[in-house]
Amino acid sequence: MEYLALAIFFSVFVFIIFDLYDKSLVALFGAFLMIVLGILGAEEAVSAIKFEAIFLLLGMMIIVNIASKSGIFQWASVKIAALTKGNPLAIFLFFSILTGLASAFLDNVTTILLIVPLTIELLRGMGKDPKPYLFSEIMFSNIGGDLTLIGDASNIIIGSASGLGFLDFIKNLWIPVLAVGIFTILAFVVFKWKDLKPHSDDLGKLFIANVIIRKIKNKFAKVSLSKSFVIKVVSIIILTILAFLIQEYLGLPNYVIAFIGAILLGILVSKKVHIHEALKSVEWTTLFFFSGLFIMVAGLEKTGLLETLSQAIASSTNNVFYLSLIILWICGIFSMILDNVPFVTVMIPVILGIQTQFPGTDTTVLWWALSMGACLGGNGTLVGGSANVVAAGLAKKDGVHISFLEYLKFGLPITTGMLLISSLYLFLRFA
């Protein structure tokens, strides 16, 4: 049984890596294979699905989908573009920080879909190479995503498994996220200064940049923003985030808060956005992919393989700090080449198993190591995260081809630096 479960799991992994079929289909097929072959009972499979994670994702997807229809995100990015006044360094800083902040509270892919086309239009029009800017935006979408419980799918899964709240993530991760953000900016400024330096003494460059900014503003001016729609969207987003922050006092689980936000917003803007439309834009394939993964991991868990792995890792050291370093780097390296969600899903029962080996010791640090490894590790390669893949696809559509190696030259050293900073943080905080 163990070998069969392992064979199914690794076959699914191979299919996902080589992108042979849609990953949701592959994961569901693997899950059903585990049920059909008797590795897992049907009821066990259903109860293995972490519905709290699925519902939290679903709720946030509905909120973001409705919100994006209000035009508020477009408006904000156009305003930011105008604020840069065509200064390349300002474009780099503002867009990177905006991507990071937006990714902390919204879906990474939504943020990338919004920022990348704008960046390419602005930079290419100015005759500049948009790649360093795009690389930074990809990285900031993953860095920002690490800050909150809702910022990245792997954090949502970690949150639902560990019981850690929205505020816990911010309290424990803001320092490494900030440090890694500063490090990334400095790395780009130092190594790509030629592309980023301001051209305030060049009338021609300033002129072209301002023509493009006015062109973008003009294009956006045609989209009429509905004041009441925007107010409702902004209010619900703020209220939802506030509710996440005071979740402990409310006594409500995260997914309930997200769902209340989604339903309230759906009701408030029902005349503008039909709920059919909002539900149509939900990434159902992602939700089914997660469900399939949860079932497969439960199958693996049932065979006792993951428990053996937990024991092996736990027995390698009796120092929780060292364990956290092991998890950070293993997860970071895996996330560079694989989708981080399957890996995090496998690691959840492993970490829960390790925790049982250290009774009476605070092992929360292991979750932060897993989160940092999963989110920051994704920056290493062009296939390390969904934001990376989407950004490369969008760039290609706009005629900017980003090769795997081209990204790797930046991604790998900067990600190594990020993981070193995270290690230092773990050392200073938990050693």
Binding site: G86, N87, G127, L203, F207, N210, R214, K215, N218, K219
Partner: protein, 313 residues
């Protein structure tokens, strides 16, 4: 990387398609204003050197936009007599430059108002007006008629998705009653149309207007039927130089795939049409309403003036 003239040409062409020639000229001046404000050079001499290079590149773009070139000429002439003939420190020259760009922008708004004022001479009451291109000048004129309380209906000849939608949005926002009919089905409604309104990119010395693609066949069709076709154009848009080639017409070739079958084919599109001025019943400008013959006379006078190096705009 393409050079600056190519980049500017592409940028200006895209802008012209999106916002029309008049708004393009204003946008360019406003962007120049933003750039001057952000520019950090020590003195006026350095500014003049860079400005000269930029104007040179802008005037070498294809196609040439008369309205933009005359405004740049005005600026060059003014700067030659002020900031570029003596030493100015940063704050002084910036103030001078910003003021002169603003003056041209104000003048452009005044000319626009004059054209709308001239258009008031047309009788549109209870008429059905056909529009096709997404001329912002035509939109402004129709909106003005509407604000004057005139009663008329607009038929939008359907063409490219974006341009048709721009027309629909404009009519809707002004509260003008409208109907959309595909451009290739207009023969069925000849009798319902009282007049046609068009805008143009420029008027060439060959007395051809450069206009949106599709307009030549449509105007010829209604001209043949004896239905009056009006052109609304600012005289600053005239191309007062000898045309050497059909530089303003660009051909776009791209591959398309059949919607249901794996058939790939080449699709060719053209950027503009050339429409002879004689096909128009009247030409409404900021300087008055003219017949094609009268306009030709005015054009020639302006061209001679331009060739003598006198200021046009």
């Amino acid at each position: 990387m393409e050079n600056r003239v190519e980049r500017l040409s592409q940028l200006l062409r895209n802008l012209e398609v999106e916002i029309g020639t008049s708004d393009l000229a204003n946008l360019i001046l406003m962007a120049l204003l933003d750039a001057v404000i952000a520019l950090k050079v020590k003195n006026s001499k350095e500014f003049c050197r860079q400005f000269k290079e930029l104007v040179n590149d802008l005037k070498n773009t294809e196609p040439k936009f008369g309205i933009l070139n005359y405004r740049l000429d005005s600026l060059v002439k003014y700067f030659k007599e002020t900031v570029c003939c003596q030493h100015y420190e940063e704050e002084q020259w910036k103030k001078e430059v910003v003021e002169s760009i603003n003056k041209i922008l104000i003048k452009s708004h005044q000319e626009r108002a004059k054209l709308i004022h001239e258009a008031e001479g047309l009788n549109v009451e209870h008429k059905t007006i056909l529009i096709h291109d997404h001329s912002h000048t035509v939109h402004r004129v129709l909106k003005h008629f509407r604000s004057m309380g005139k009663h008329f209906k607009v038929v939008i000849a359907e063409q490219d998705f974006d341009k048709t939608h721009s027309n629909i949005e404009s009519m809707h926002s002004a509260g003008i009653p409208f109907q959309v009919v595909p451009a290739y089905m207009l023969s069925h409604i000849h009798k319902e149309i009282d007049m046609l309104f068009f805008g143009g990119l420029t008027l060439k010395d060959t007395m051809d207007f450069v206009m949106d693609p599709g307009t030549l066949s449509l105007i010829s069709e209604f001209h043949e039927e004896g239905i009056p076709v009006y052109m609304f154009i600012d005289t600053a848009k005239f191309s007062l130089w000898k045309s050497k080639k059909r530089g303003e017409i660009f051909m776009h070739k791209h591959l398309r795939t059949h919607a249901y079958q794996p058939i790939e084919y080449e699709r060719v599109k053209y950027s503009h049409d050339r429409v002879p001025a004689k096909l128009f019943y009247r030409l409404v400008t900021n300087e008055g309403i003219f017949t094609p013959e009268e306009l030709e006379k005015i054009f020639k006078e302006k061209m001679e003036k331009y060739e003598r190096g006198e200021e046009i705009d």
